[in-house]
Subunit: 270 residues, 2 copies
């Protein structure tokens, strides 16, 4: 169920989750981010829970394949890097970071384990390597300290101090998203500094000479219509118009449309 | 309602939202990230919607203060940078980026507008400046193309291509979180490369000489107990034990506890 060229996705462990709806919504968020393996420790209302599947939407398979285990230790039996999500710092001597830092550590852990591993398939790699897991506590109280001390890292998102408590599925999304972004950045599937680009096919952009023909026609038509009432301003007004139309990076098709606009407006004037 | 030293938070516009629960959950996510201003365009089930408030949790004030407007244009009347969230690319000539790129553009927009603005209060700044807004479409279909073309930017999260469709409130969280992280990075409230740190007070860490006394005692006790059966290995075994105990960066208190451990174990042997 690994859909892409990304590293092996982390396991999600929900410790003592309370509401089936949240388990379902967590599965949807996992699916959105390409995570597939869900482990439930003592879900309050038993399992399967009929409230989970409708909320899972496209993540239904994750719900169907979810494992139920009697303790965090059992759920993390094959895990070699365990992250504990928490809305609050704890009075425990445990290393802590934020979800972005956690994502980068998860990837580093994965990379290190793969070094020298010549396994060909994801399942073969999974079988040999320790897994990475993110663990989340119950909705009402979060993880208890006995669960947190099992983890290598406490991960706390720097949220609004007036109300930092995320819904369970929202917390799963936030951690899964940060893992996914880090993984995609790592393999160059996403750019670190994304400049907005126009989704146009670049080959369809108007050339400078197509723009120039348009500008000349526009200026002639405006001149003809008595637009440049103050001749001393004409040069700078023309320059500003050119800058405006250039800023939009028009396609050849758009330049054609703009020619039509000039024609139609001129006709109206006549 | 701006709780922190962050830039003015973006407005959230929900166009034709369907379920009150999602509007509530979106408000909670906004509150988690320090966004407070919610505008609803033609909510399907009218407004107020009794399903919204319970899901809003700590974001109840956002629900109570939400404005209802008849069109996207009306909801964005004071907005000078409008982002349209979409799970899919559109066949439209519009600039597009991902949520992280969008966050950095929102902050740049805000910075540019503040330049030379000597207003002292957030409300005075809000009154004079154009706002930034993130806009989200209805659950079933997303924004329609007539809504998207009103926006400066189309923002698409690079999610699992097998199922990229986020729940509405999850989409709001993802965008709001990216804005918050970018804003906090910008003012140095969060580090760009977060190394995990131990939450211990650093002044309480054991000194090198405290560690040394412990190591000496441990090694003597082990020697006494016949631990070093192969004398030629003793040096490297001792070195590895020192490395292990050092890696945990023990506090003075922990070193005291470890002294107690040696004592107790030795007593048992006697």
């Amino acid at each position: 169920m690994n859909f892409e060229d990304l590293p092996i996705a982390p396991v999600v462990i929900l410790a003592r989750p309370q509401m089936g709806e949240n388990i379902g919504a967590a599965a949807r968020a996992m699916m959105n981010c390409g995570l597939t393996e869900l482990r439930l420790v003592n879900p309050r209302d038993g399992w399967p829970n009929p409230a989970a599947l409708p909320m899972a939407a496209g993540g239904g398979e994750i719900i169907k394949n979810a494992q139920v285990l009697p303790s965090v230790a059992a759920a993390a039996h094959d895990v070699t890097l365990l992250l504990a999500a928490s809305a609050r710092r704890r009075d425990l001597s445990i290393k802590s970071t934020d979800p972005r830092g956690a994502a980068s550590l998860m990837l580093a852990h994965d990379r290190q384990q793969r070094l020298g591993d010549d396994s060909q398939t994801v399942s073969a790699i999974n079988a040999k390597q320790g897994r990475v897991a993110m663990m989340f506590g119950p909705e009402a109280s979060g993880l208890d300290n006995d669960e947190v001390v099992l983890a290598d890292l406490l991960v706390t998102a720097p949220l609004n101090p007036a109300y930092p408590s995320l819904n369970l599925a929202q917390a799963v999304l936030l951690f899964a998203w940060e893992w996914r972004m880090a993984a995609q950045l790592d393999i160059g599937q996403v750019d670190a500094l994304v400049s907005p680009v126009i989704s146009n096919d670049h080959s369809k952009l108007a050339s400078i000479s197509e723009r120039e023909i348009f500008f000349d026609r526009l200026e002639a038509a405006l001149d003809d219509g008595g637009f440049f009432t103050a001749p001393e301003m004409a040069t700078s007004v023309k320059r500003n118009l050119r800058a405006f139309f250039t800023r939009g990076a028009p396609t050849g098709q758009e330049i054609n449309t703009l020619h039509g606009v000039i024609q139609a407006l001129s006709r109206r004037r006549d």
